[in-house]
């Protein structure tokens, strides 16, 4: 099969270690094996799309990387250095930030408080610097071209789905991340704002930031990604460049029609 020629480390064996390297990640929820030895590399300035059917283990994989639900087994390396990610603080310290599928915002707090939650600016030692945070919030949201948010002091619970999504995305851009993970970031967005998010992803790439994006929308994926990795039943079954002619193969791998090829792909 021609489609799988890009599989594995086909993208030239670079001498430098990738930004993120996952090897053999496993995770079980009771009897459910959500990840069965998942491998993934992401280089700095590379956009990797993670696709797969519902329940393939995509969200589980990213939660393992962010420490929200640490993996049971396997290794994670950042810049070639093995790291231990056991809690959200660990990934944050490594410069990993994420937008979760279920958003994870505090409805009772305003936009500014949500954006800075866990990394609040302080002045005079221990006092919250609301002014600095509010200014930075505006800058961030302007960068995301958010025109519809009337006040950054609105309570997040009172915002629409699209606005909440933008807040979650803006949150992940805060504090110079090295790797940004977006789990279904455009699910609640309209056409024009989806385009803005995809633009933003490209901008992150040009700034040398690594990006993992999960999406069900293959059109978006092929538009923005450098590489497309297919996850199926908790393991990577293949990867392709985002060339339009690979679309059939990706669809096949997602649905399992192409499973005999996928099985051959091992690092």
């Amino acid at each position: 099969m021609s489609a799988q020629t890009q599989a594995g480390a086909a993208t030239a064996p670079a001498p430098v270690a990738p930004l993120l390297r996952l090897r053999g990640l496993t995770k079980s929820f009771g009897a459910v094996q959500a990840m069965r030895g998942a491998d993934l590399d992401v280089a700095a300035g590379e956009v990797v799309a993670l696709v797969g059917d519902n329940g393939a283990g995509k969200s589980t994989l990213i939660k393992a990387v962010t420490g929200v639900q640490p993996a049971d087994g396997g290794t994670i390396e950042m810049d070639g250095v093995p790291v231990s990610i056991k809690a959200p603080q660990d990934s944050a310290a490594l410069g990993i930030s994420a937008v979760y599928q279920d958003l994870a915002l505090c409805d009772n707090l305003d936009v500014v408080a949500n954006l800075f939650l866990g990394q609040e600016s302080q002045r005079n030692g221990k006092v919250l610097d609301e002014i600095a945070m509010e200014k930075e919030s505006r800058r961030l949201l302007d960068r995301l071209a958010v025109k519809t948010l009337r006040s950054v002091r609105s309570e997040v619970g009172a915002l629409s789905g699209g606005q909440r999504q933008t807040v979650a995305i803006a949150r992940s851009m805060l504090g110079d991340p090295k790797l940004v993970i977006l789990d279904e970031p455009t699910a609640a967005l309209g056409v024009s704002q989806t385009a803005q998010v995809l633009e933003l992803v490209k901008r992150l790439r040009s700034e040398g930031i690594g990006v993992i994006i999960i999406s069900h929308n293959l059109a978006d994926v092929f538009q923005v990604a450098d590489r497309i990795v297919v996850l199926r039943l908790g393991a990577v079954t293949g990867e392709w460049t985002a060339a339009p002619e690979n679309r059939q193969a990706v669809v096949g791998a997602i649905t399992g029609a192409d499973i005999e090829n996928g099985d051959e792909v091992t690092p």
């Binding site: 929200v68 959200p88 994420a98 505090c106 409805d107 408080a113 939650l117 866990g118 958010v146 024009s192």
Partner: protein
């Protein structure tokens, strides 16, 4: 969600969120805000005004300086306990042991000081230490073993009540005469000291409001209108002046009230201006979101339970100081229920994440006024309990309605 709206959306943006446009403040708007709990403090002040009007009409002794002084003394202990209750409620948890902890702490203080001859200050510190240790224990049990705080503190309620009986031994009642202890509730500030405190408070309120306004303007951020600021700080100024005038015309500002207000001011600062406070609200709003954002949820919860038990211990000490004795029923009876009812009446949500620590003071005032007013009218306990219960139910209903309306509006 994104493709739905029927309204002709502007060409730019997702177009599903124009509801905040064309926002004219109106009376209906203010009513909605009241109902939705956005102005919790204002709501409780209105409730308080109604209660005071009723009792003032029913009995002309109610609004006298002597009675209001007594009221201030009566609410100091329960208000202090309520400060801790507010912190716990903000987390979306509950602490049923605060009454028992207050009784145990008061007993420890009394026995160490009277029976064992300890220095009274050391006895007070030991009592506070017992409170804090209990809080750390209960918080750790609840967070590490993932037991609902309701259950842990219910068990605590029984255990600490038992410990109190044990500590008091067969004497049962310990009378307090040590000035260092009785002076806590027995001291009234000299008139000029009361004014000094009041002026400091007013300067603090107005100064910080102006400073904040000036900072925000300098940073080019949307700032509160001058009129709003004047109304807000003006109301606080008037309230402080009236309170000091009234209290000074009797025995003076009670030290115990000053302590309570001081605690509320400090905790209000902690809750609104520090990371720790921000994280309390975050955990109360969505604990999982807070955890993912890097908040150490378990440590935070344990700290809050430790604070709550420490404030409970302090409340117990203040109560003992006022009653000049500790006995087996100290901290018992309806103290627990009233210390929780107060903040809830004053707008702290039982669902977590909403409310301010001022609710401890305002709630204690509401509950205390009802109790005090009905005592003046010589009403029976049966009536008192039913009325207090009714007010609590009303407040909780308002909270629930507010929550439902928020949900209906927020995630349309």
């Amino acid at each position: 969600m994104s493709t739905a709206p029927a309204s002709p959306a502007p060409a730019f943006g997702p177009g599903d969120d124009t509801k905040e446009e064309h926002h004219r403040p109106s009376l209906a708007d203010a009513g909605r805000k009241l109902l939705e709990g956005e102005m919790g403090s204002l709501r409780v002040i209105i409730v308080l005004a109604i209660i005071w009007t009723i009792f003032a009409l029913a009995n002309d002794r109610f609004l006298t300086a002597v009675n209001l002084s007594n009221l201030a003394l009566q609410i100091a202990a329960v208000g202090t306990i309520s400060v801790g209750v507010v912190l716990v409620l903000l987390l979306g948890e509950i602490d049923l042991s605060v009454g028992a902890v207050s009784g145990l702490a008061a007993s420890v203080m009394a026995v160490l000081s009277v029976k064992n001859g300890w220095n009274p200050y050391l006895a007070i510190i030991a009592a506070l230490g017992v409170g804090m240790a209990i809080g750390i224990f209960q918080g750790t049990m609840s967070t590490r073993l993932v037991i609902p705080s309701f259950v842990v503190t219910l068990a605590g309620l029984l255990m600490w009540q038992g410990a109190q009986l044990k500590v008091l031994g067969d004497t049962g009642t310990v009378n307090l005469s040590e000035p260092a202890i009785t002076n806590i509730a027995g001291t009234f500030l000299a008139p000029w000291v009361g004014w000094l405190v009041a002026i400091a408070a007013i300067v603090g309120i107005v100064g910080s409001a102006l400073l904040n306004l000036q900072r925000r303007r300098a940073a080019g951020l949307e700032a509160e209108s001058m009129l709003g600021l004047i109304i807000r700080t003006g109301a606080a100024t008037v309230a402080i002046i009236v309170a000091v005038v009234v209290l000074n015309s009797d025995r003076g500002v009670p030290l115990a009230l000053t302590i309570l207000v001081g605690i509320v001011v400090v905790m209000n600062f902690v809750l609104t201006k520090t990371r720790f406070g921000r994280h309390i609200y975050a955990v109360g709003g969505d604990a999982e979101a807070a955890r993912r954002a890097g908040v150490r949820v378990a440590a935070l919860r344990t700290t809050v339970f430790a604070l709550a038990s420490t404030f409970a211990a302090l409340g117990g000490i203040i109560a003992a100081s006022r009653l000049l004795a500790v006995n087996q029923s100290s901290g018992g009876s309806d103290l627990l229920l009233l210390s929780i009812a107060g903040p809830v009446v004053a707008g702290v949500s039982l669902f977590g994440g909403r409310g301010t620590v001022w609710a401890a003071l305002l709630g204690a005032l509401v509950i205390g006024s009802i109790s005090n007013g009905m005592d003046l009218l010589a009403l029976q306990s049966s009536v008192k309990f039913m009325v207090t219960g009714g007010v609590l139910l009303l407040a909780v209903s308002l909270d629930a309605v507010a929550r439902q309306r928020r949900q209906a509006r927020g995630r349309a």
